[in-house]
Amino acid sequence: MRRRLILLTLLAGTLSGCREDFILPDTQADASVLVVEGDIVVGGGVENLIRLTRLRNLYQPNENPVAGARVDILAGNGTTWPLTERSPGNYASNAILPANQHYTLRITAGGKTYETPSQTPVITPTIDSLTWSQDASNIRIFVHTRDATNQTRQYRWKHIETWESRAWYETYFDFVNGSIVTRPVGDQIYTCWKNASSAAILIGNSRSLDKDVISYQPIAAIAKPSEKVYVRYSILVQQMGITQEAFDFWDILRKNTELTGTLFDPQPSNLPTNIRCTNDPKAKVIGYVSVGTITEKRLFILHSALDGWPNRNQALSCDAFEFSKTQAENFLRNNPSYLPAYFITAGGGFGVAPKGCVDCRLMGGSNLKPLFW
């Protein structure tokens, strides 16, 4: 409903279609503000990952990770589950936490100790289904779920998209040490798989409904003519039930930066948080740590199920030059940005094409097939 209202107000706001870039005067961010991202996941399925960074200046693109901090998950019964630093700022543990305990998170960084209150894990219901539909310009993916006990009410989702991406030419050849050779079996660079994680805050609630039912909640959209569905696409949706307070945190965070900027924006609000600094009450912290289980579901979409979707990037120019073997090898020696693409059966020559048209790895992605594919 909120979206509807925001759209309504767009009418007045963009009557002359005028939205322009705005550059802020640069100000120094307060680097002592700690940013904590992550949740305590119980019952397995996904490992526990907490990321710690510091607030940075507006136009500074790189994060300021907090290295060398001590991060522990404390269970109600006294057990401590320490997290180890995998890379600067990323602290993780693949231990499976029992779901029948209360948990708090404790962080010690920069001489200060931060803690969350003790929370009972939210038992997340399973995802009913993932559906998708295609309209003139998008494919939209929806999640449906329900809680028969009407307890959960608030949900947060993340997703990981994986899609198959192919190079223009399927080559069985490679250019090694000045000569064209056959590729070993299995060493293919034609099909790759790319991944992307969700970048938006996806939350929903069923508080205005009688039953705890989430229906047609938009999870992702693919805009035509994205390459994600040139061949086959898959999305893994992870769902976590959250408390009202956690929902408010993500809702305010989303409103503060994901608004469309209409004439009727509410004021950016102070973010609630459940992380407190125990030895310096004035220290500012950003983040909200929830405790609960995670349920997942995966959806595949085949290109053949789509209506009028291209199956390759028509804008790529992948013209190949055809040569005899010797000429091809000569050419490839002098033009290292080309690779052999195909064998010309009539005459025994080769077609050579730019690397990007032959090696799918150059467009991002890996040529290793995921386990679930």
Binding site: M1, A12, S16, T53, S215, Q267, I286
Partner: protein, 905 residues
């Protein structure tokens, strides 16, 4: 004194005019006659210059008759044989009987008329006939004259016209009905009657006793020569009211407006002290007050949402408006209920001579008005006007696809009837409906409606006391419907209705006192929100926030006292009593704890009509005016005000889904105090008016909101509000040139308005508990309105506005969360968006000035936002490709030319 006789007036004019001039044949003849017949002959040599001398035979009477025949001159003799020669109707040279009655010493207390004034009176007497008021034989030396001042062309009564007696610095103004009552010494007077936009009229009266005189004055139709001097100078200097801005419809028409549509609210924004949060917003802010602290009255009907299309157009068609008065500082005691301002818009009563009308066609809207007398005896007049839009064609050209499928509709219509039952009884009825309808993207609609009616009866008990009794219903409701997904289809509604009854008395026992007193009662009923499933598939749970109902009663008494010719005082006292009634359910919270759903301890359900909460209190309105000299005055005022109804909004502008809320056990009435001081002067002969006003206001119990406050469908809003107190102060300067080929005004305002959380159980602090700028705090505001009339048909107008950007909360730093970069914000309103500057120009071309033509047409061309500056309304930040991008959103980003055709028939 003897000099005050009619005859003497003539004598002084006639005496000795032959000295030093060329002698005409008639002059020589008179010389001869005076010597021969031993008679004294008085005449104006200018009138007799061209007379030809004929027969010299016969008696003096014969000769005079023959000589004067055909010349338009006549003569008469008085009792002692003097001969007067004059033009026009004969004058009675007799003194009125009983003129020397009662006490011969009383003339000493009346101001003497100097010889110069007698000369002027003489000239006036020859231009206008003398009117006699009342009958002789009454007691006392003073008499009360009453009557109406009207526009001679249409019969419309003229409000705030001023009537003064020549030579006397006192005077009165007509009230909203055009009615005046004035106590004057008996005898001859020259009355000067003036009103904005009308020719100043001089009326000679001979007051014999109490009586009635109805005065009609001409509109200042521009002659072919230079502009005629109109409106009396001194209205701002002499006027009792301070902090009142008056705009006549002429002034409003000259301000170019969006798409060529004349607009009342937009013209209001050019006055000092009045700002708005941005273009396209509904409300306006007066002297640093919130948008809900202004009351807009249309013929005494309260209009809750006075705009169309998110504030682009006012909801009142200017064609039917007579004028508007905005009270900013010294609010008279008969008004109340809002803290910052009262805007009183009155429509005309309707031409009582013939039926006329106008029609206008602009790029986005079309409108019409019609007015005239009804019935044979012409005792009833009507005026009606309506407007509608056909702007859907405009939407098709927008770049945003979702907007192209949208539909916009709005319209309004007003009807006002006046009927004279008897000379002492008049009845008025008004009705107003406005409707707005937007369909966005073919699946969401937003509609709202104003519906107002009012019935008014004015009864004159005596010449000094009258009563206006009025009653009416004011209603506003909106509905938002969404239907994108059938499971979520909803219908959200809000409504407010008030029944408002008033009895206002006005008593003017003499020229020194002008008393007003009365009672008022408002019954409120609000439906704060109802959410219904829009169709049978929808899973939306119906939810209703329970209705609120309350009654607000007030009584007031006030007097405007003229202590001396220089000093006037106005003192008023108003007492209001507010009662919130059941049915209703209210929660009780743990003491000392911030109110939230976690600190509820109990709830109380009240049955219908049971008292839930009472608030009451006095209000004081004092103002004074001291005339330093005839050109300069000093005014001081102090007011306290109470407001029992609040608009609940946590956006910077009034949004379509804002709701009104009544005071309840947790939300206290807002209380305001204002002290202002002003100087008004009219220097030199340039006909400039200068004014400078300074003020200081404090407010208590102003509502601000906690972070993430949920205001729609919230049955316990007390959990999301913070009690704040505010202070506002500023200086307003205005230079105005009302007349001449070049006219207009320049205003500059410096103001600050600050808030501070004043809530011990807030649970949250803003700006660490210090004062922070309110959303509409704009330190510098300057406005220029200039019109230049080239000739009878063509005039141009220029409007220019500059203001400091409004405060905004800026991002201070960035962090990553949820896969994207996010923004960390500063303290509330710690920064400002870029300044606002806009200039508009328009040209008005009238096709013909022939007064007798059946249909008058005129064209208006113009450009809105000439400089094309895209004044940012909103500055916000979004994540784009994992990067923070800042955007500014403006409502008008380029110049917009427009053309409008107006017809008047």
């Amino acid at each position: 004194m003897v000099r005050r006789t009619l005859g003497i007036c003539l004598l002084s004019g006639l005496s000795a005019t032959t000295l030093g001039q060329d002698r005409s044949p008639f002059d020589s003849l008179v010389n001869v006659w005076e010597k021969r017949h031993q008679v004294s002959i008085r005449y104006d040599p200018r009138q007799t210059r061209g007379l030809a001398i004929t027969e010299q035979a016969g008696s003096l009477d014969d000769i005079l008759k023959n000589t004067l025949e055909g010349s338009g001159l006549s003569y008469l003799r008085d009792r002692i044989g003097r001969i007067f020669i004059f033009r026009g109707a004969p004058i009675d040279p007799q003194l009125p009987k009983g003129f020397f009655a009662d006490n011969p010493t009383s003339p000493a207390s009346t101001p003497a008329i100097s010889e110069r004034q007698e000369n002027e009176a003489f000239i006036a007497a020859h231009a206008n006939p003398i009117q006699t008021i009342g009958n002789r034989g009454g007691q006392g030396t003073n008499a009360t004259i009453t009557g109406y001042v009207r526009d001679a062309g249409s019969g419309e009564p003229l409000a705030s016209a001023s009537i003064t007696i020549e030579g006397n610095s006192g005077g009165v103004s007509t009230d909203a009905f055009g009615f005046f009552t004035m106590t004057v010494p008996k005898g001859r007077h020259a009355l000067k009657v003036s009103s904005v936009g009308m020719k100043e009229a001089d009326i000679q009266v001979n007051v014999l006793g109490n009586g009635r005189i109805d005065i009609s004055i001409q509109e200042a139709v521009r002659s072919l020569k230079a502009a005629v001097v109109v409106a009396r100078k001194g209205s701002n200097v002499r006027g009792m009211q301070m902090g009142v801005e008056k705009l006549s419809i002429r002034a409003i028409r000259q301000i170019p407006a969006v798409m060529g549509e004349t607009d009342i609210l937009r013209s209001l924004l050019t006055l000092p002290g009045v700002t708005s949060v941005g273009e396209g917003t509904v409300g306006y802010n007066v002297r640093g007050g919130a948008a809900d602290q202004n009351l807009l009255l249309l013929n005494d009907m309260t209009v809750f949402n006075p705009t169309h299309l998110f504030g682009f157009f006012s909801a009142v068609d200017p064609e039917v408006v007579r004028g508007l008065e905005l009270y900013k500082s010294a609010i008279p005691e008969k008004y109340g209920g809002r803290l910052s301002s009262i805007m009183d818009v009155t429509t005309r009563d309707g031409n009582n001579k013939k039926i006329t009308g106008t029609a206008g066609i602009g790029p986005l809207t079309g409108k019409f008005t019609a007015e005239g007398p009804l019935g044979k005896n012409k005792k009833t007049t009507f005026i009606t006007g309506g407007r509608t839009t056909y702007s859907n064609w405009f939407l098709k050209y927008l770049s945003d696809a979702s907007l192209r499928k949208s539909r916009v509709n709005f319209g309004d219509i007003i009807l006002h009837l006046g009927h004279e039952i008897s000379p002492r009884d008049r009845l008025y009825a008004s009705a107003y409906i406005s409707h707005d309808d937007f369909r966005l993207n073919a699946d969401s609609t937003y509609t709202y409606q104003n519906l107002n009616t009012r019935l008014k009866w004015r009864h004159d008990f005596t010449d000094k006391l009258y009563l206006v009794l009025s009653s009416g219903i004011d209603q506003y409701h909106y509905s938002v419907k969404g239907r994108n997904n059938p499971r979520d289809a909803f219908d959200l509604r809000f409504g407010i209705r008030q029944l408002n009854t008033k009895a206002d008395f006005r008593y003017a026992p003499d020229n020194r006192h002008d008393l007003s007193f009365g009672l008022q009662h408002i019954s409120y009923q609000i439906q704060p929100g109802r959410l219904l499933p829009r169709n049978t598939q929808s899973l939306v749970t119906p939810r209703t926030v329970e209705d609120e109902q309350a009654g607000e009663s007030s009584a007031y008494v006030g007097d405007q006292y003229r202590a001396s010719n220089k000093l006037s005082l106005q003192a008023g006292f108003r007492y209001t009593h507010y009662r919130l009634n059941g049915p209703g359910k209210y929660y009780r919270y743990a003491p000392g704890q911030p109110r939230s759903d976690r600190s509820v301890v109990d709830s109380v359900t009240y049955p219908a009509n049971q008292r839930i909460q009472t608030y009451q209190g006095p209000e004081i309105r004092i103002s004074s005016r001291y005339l330093i000299d005839t050109r300069t005055s000093l005014k001081l005022s102090f007011n306290t005000l109470r407001q029992y109804i609040h608009m609940v909004t946590n956006t910077t502008a009034i949004s379509p889904t804002d709701i009104w809320k009544l005071s309840d056990p947790y939300i206290r009435p807002q209380i305001g105090r204002q002290l202002s001081l002003g100087i008004y002067t009219q220097p030199g002969d340039k006909e400039l008016e200068l004014s400078l006003e300074a003020y200081y206001k404090t407010t208590r119990n102003y509502l601000d909101y906690k972070s993430g406050a949920k205001l729609i469908l919230n049955e316990a809003i007390e959990r999301d509000v913070l009690n704040t107190k505010g202070k506002a102060y500023g200086i307003e300067a205005l230079i105005k040139k009302p007349q001449g080929k070049l006219n207009g005004w320049l205003s500059y305002t410096w103001l600050r308005t600050l808030l501070q959380v004043d809530d011990p159980i807030a649970g949250e602090v803003i700006n660490g508990g210090n004062y922070y700028p309110a959303n509409f705090d704009k330190p510098h505001i300057a406005s220029l309105v200039a019109n230049y009339r080239f000739n009878q048909r063509v005039s141009i107008s220029l409007t220019s506005t500059y203001s400091t950007g409004r405060p905004v909360t800026y991002p201070l730093g960035v962090f990553t969360m949820g896969g994207s970069s996010r923004v960390y914000y500063s303290e509330r309103n710690a920064f400002r968006i870029p300044d606002f500057f806009r200039t508009d120009a328009s040209m008005l071309i009238e096709n013909s000035h022939n007064l007798r033509k059946k249909v008058h047409t005129s064209w208006t061309f113009g450009i809105y936002n000439i400089t094309g500056r895209n004044n940012p309304y909103s500055v916000y930040f979004v994540v784009n490709d994992r990067q923070i991008r800042g955007y500014q959103l403006s409502v008008f980003a380029s110049s917009i030319p427009f053309a409008t055709l107006n017809l008047k028939f």
